[in-house]
């Protein structure tokens, strides 16, 4: 076994980034009634004759 120590850098609490503010605003903006479907296989995303 190898034993190692981490050097921990303490990070000051920061303000939300623009991306986080954007995400928070989107989250408050309401919700659709259905969702866009995404798949690892793009060919499966639009129409499937059989599942």
């Amino acid at each position: 076994m190898i034993k190692g120590n981490f050097k921990i850098k303490k990070i000051k609490k920061r303000e939300a980034t623009d991306q986080e503010k954007f995400e928070q605003l989107i989250a408050r903006s309401g919700v659709g009634s259905h969702m866009v479907f995404r798949s690892k296989n793009e060919d499966d995303e639009l129409f499937l004759d059989k599942l």
Partner: protein, 368 residues
């Protein structure tokens, strides 16, 4: 306490970590950089952020309803029609459809009157919310014989559209496409008008090589009568996009025009007049008053965009950004299979693979 932190790992594990760090392109970088890439907040595009937030919210609010409604619909699905029956056995080479939404352009450009007075011979696919006004305007299935209506939203209030007396008047002549996860009360409202119902799966968690509710419902549906199962469609999050998918994938139309599919508002519309679904409760609420409308982040989330095809500006909520991003992407991806025409004379659906023209021009050139 953090200063004293230490860990023990085997040499084998350390080697695997080194290899993984190397493979991810972090060979020359610090362990800290690599850990940050693994566990920190990776930079997502705005489109990805919007899709992720909406997906999480929608599943949180609707997933249980969807499973419950599917269970309650099962007998009616087993003894009902598959949307597969709507797929033409010998599709015509040239065949057009008009998808009708209920966006503001419909009234602004008097499109229903124009269509009602035309001799259009193609397919009409009406979104459920637009149906009463469409019928009242004279776009009726006794004149336009290939007439379909689609519901995708799984909200109980969709029943109100079908309960409108004008739907009962023409229901016998309309084919209605419903998702397996529709509230049963909406199914019965549509059925009570005399419409013939056709069932479809809506894709939301399908995995070809994994377990998903889409696969489970498919297995259950196939257990009785529907040996081939039902076809499954991308909804794009809304009934307009779903209707566009149905037009080319099931009805095999080679050209699809959109009217009333704006995915946006006129720039003079005040945000305060716009209603939305509360992500916490699923109820309809007015625009939250405490959201600052002058920040850069707001302008990014609620953009005003320029439509160069119709020389107009459109305001979008994140919901419409979410919908239009997806629809535009899907239109581009299927451009060799289906010609999509924005005939709304405005709205946010423009760009690569999308042709724009007035409805009058469309009716003159594609009336088949």
């Amino acid at each position: 306490m953090l200063d004293d932190f230490s860990l023990e790992i085997s040499e084998n594990t350390l080697q695997k970590m080194k290899n993984a760090k190397e493979e991810m392109g972090f060979g020359a970088k610090s362990w800290s950089d690599w850990f940050e890439a693994l566990f920190g907040n990776s930079k997502q595009t705005e489109k990805e952020v919007i899709e992720k937030v909406f997906r999480d919210n929608i599943l949180k609010i609707f997933y249980e309803d969807w499973v419950r409604y599917f269970a309650l619909n099962l007998e009616n699905i087993w003894h009902g029609n598959s949307a597969r029956k709507l797929i033409p056995k010998k599709p015509r080479k040239v065949h057009s459809a008009i998808v009708i939404g209920r966006g503001p352009s419909l009234q602004k450009h008097n499109h229903l009157k124009l269509l009602a007075n035309s001799n259009y011979k193609g397919v009409i696919i009406c979104t459920d919310g637009a149906l009463p006004e469409v019928l009242k305007a004279g776009v009726i299935p006794t004149k336009f014989k290939k007439f379909y209506v689609v519901t995708i939203d799984t909200l109980v209030r969709q029943k109100d559209f079908y309960n409108n007396p004008v739907c009962k008047k023409y229901g016998n002549y309309i084919k209605c496409i419903l998702p397996t996860i529709v509230p049963p009360i909406v199914y019965f409202a549509a059925k009570n008008t005399g419409m013939k119902i056709y069932w479809i799966h809506t894709l939301f968690d399908y995995k070809r090589d994994g377990i998903s509710f889409n696969q489970i419902e498919n297995i259950i549906v196939k257990a009785k009568n529907h040996k081939k199962g039902l076809p499954a469609i991308q909804t794009g999050g809304n009934v307009g996009t779903a209707s566009w998918v149905i037009a080319w994938s099931i009805l095999k139309c080679s050209t699809v025009a959109l009217i009333g599919i704006d995915h946006g508002y006129d720039i003079r519309t005040s945000w305060n007049k716009i209603k939305q679904i509360d992500p916490e409760t699923g109820k309809i609420i007015t625009f939250p008053k405490d959201i600052a409308q002058n920040s850069d982040v707001f302008k990014k989330a609620y953009p005003t965009i320029y439509n160069p095809d119709f020389d107009c500006y459109v305001k979008q909520t994140p919901t419409f950004v979410y919908y239009s991003n997806a629809l535009k992407e899907f239109i581009f991806r299927t451009r060799k299979r289906v010609k999509t025409i924005n005939a709304t004379e405005g709205g946010s659906i423009f760009g690569k693979g999308i042709e724009s023209m007035t409805l009058k021009n469309f009716l003159e050139n594609y009336s088949y």
